[in-house]
Symmetry: C2
Subunit: 248 residues, 2 copies
């Protein structure tokens, strides 16, 4: 049995996230079908993360054990032939037996894309969050710095989710602007439910002056979801990179 890790990207617009579920199409289900077609095996595919409906991935990692005799360098082409165009396998690597796409991850980086022009862009439908307001980028950058560190991020977690611990470490959070696109990049060891989208919404509120950047530490400390910003839409969110500390 080889342990195979796939690095893939997907446009999540048509999917209810990664994780297989009844009555809704997911990336995992479609990939399972392609793996079955190519290898003849009913694989147990482990994903690096659940992603929500409509969320995208620039670099998603999953792994599965397989007896296939297909050389790993040929697996991406074989799978891509069996997959719809909105999912593409970019690499396949043989990884150590103990590699686990979810538990071996050291950190994950998400990118969040905001489109700020007044009128929507027909080429970016479902690929950005449309927030047509003037943003104070300097204030957002100052707000972003306050998030970096190890804190209880309860104020940035959707209610209804249960977690053993709500403490997370944000290693990096940056804000950049290019034309009408504003991008956040966030790296953390792991995430609470909807954490990136609520942080994005909070940064946007800072950008329009609805939240003052100096109040971010207070909001974090409060642990109160009502004090942070909106949960920004799923379409702006991209899983961009999973770091396995050299294992992959």
């Amino acid at each position: 049995m080889k342990n195979l890790a796939l690095t893939l990207c997907y446009n999540g617009s048509s999917y209810h996230g990664w994780q297989i579920q009844q009555n809704a199409l997911t990336v995992q289900e479609v990939l399972l079908g392609a793996v079955a077609k190519v290898t003849g095996e009913a694989a147990d595919i482990i994903g690096c993360s659940r992603t929500d409906a409509g969320v995208h991935a620039l670099e998603y990692v999953c792994n599965f054990k397989s007896k296939t005799s297909i050389p790993e360098e040929k697996i991406p082409i074989a799978l891509n032939t069996a997959l719809p165009k909105d999912i593409r396998i970019n690499r396949c690597n043989i990884v150590p037996d103990h590699f686990h796409a979810r538990f071996s991850a050291v950190s994950k980086t998400y990118i969040y894309k905001v489109y700020t022009a007044k009128i929507e862009n027909p080429f970016l439908t479902d690929l950005v969050y449309h927030f047509p307001y003037e943003l104070n980028i300097e204030h957002m950058k100052k707000a972003a710095e306050f998030f970096i560190g190890t804190y209880d991020f309860s104020a940035f977690m959707s209610t209804g989710s249960s977690q053993k611990s709500t403490i997370r470490t944000i290693l990096n959070l940056s804000v950049s602007q290019s034309g009408d696109i504003v991008e956040f990049s966030i790296t953390a060891n792991s995430y609470l439910y909807n954490m990136v989208r609520i942080i994005a919404g909070t940064l946007l509120y800072t950008g329009i002056g609805k939240i003052h950047y100096n109040d971010i530490p207070k909001i974090i400390q409060s642990g109160d979801r009502r004090q942070s910003g909106i949960t920004a839409g799923a379409g702006g969110l991209y899983l961009a990179k999973v770091d396995y500390g050299g294992l992959l």
Copy 2:
């Protein structure tokens, strides 16, 4: 009667081009419906150009006469509410009575986008032409220069089309590269059928060495469609700008 000019953009992936036709959805038909809904008028909408099925527009111009009392600055918002997300009206201007979106155009600029990475990009499906080969950009730039000028471009016209004259003036043709994207930008007074896509295909053939850049003048002179390159796919083509010499 006011003469109203709309500046719009559209993602052409779901449309059989601009011009209304039976049994196939077009941008003009959808726009006619929206104008009827907003103004109550069955407008005679004149487009700046037919575009082929799957071709996109970053800046398309059309005009129509109307008695509407809606102020022109409010028309884009009203129409956008009635339109699907892949068509967006960016501006509405009152133009002189004699303004005609097609005949008043002095020149048009098209952009052609090529994606050169080995594996397709799920975020660019139908938005680029996938040509996964290494391209010699310098050779393509040299080839592009030979196209600039006034020539008989019969060798770059799809057969079956009839034109009074096949002489056109190319004012500019440039080649640029950014990561895996190669872009051509072409400005001409007007175009023969499929001219941009055949020039794009010819530049790509130059890039892979199938055509030598020094042979471009000979190919133009030949007037022989068989000597030029492939008709590159519709998805890479964008109408980018229509110049009305100050009329709009």
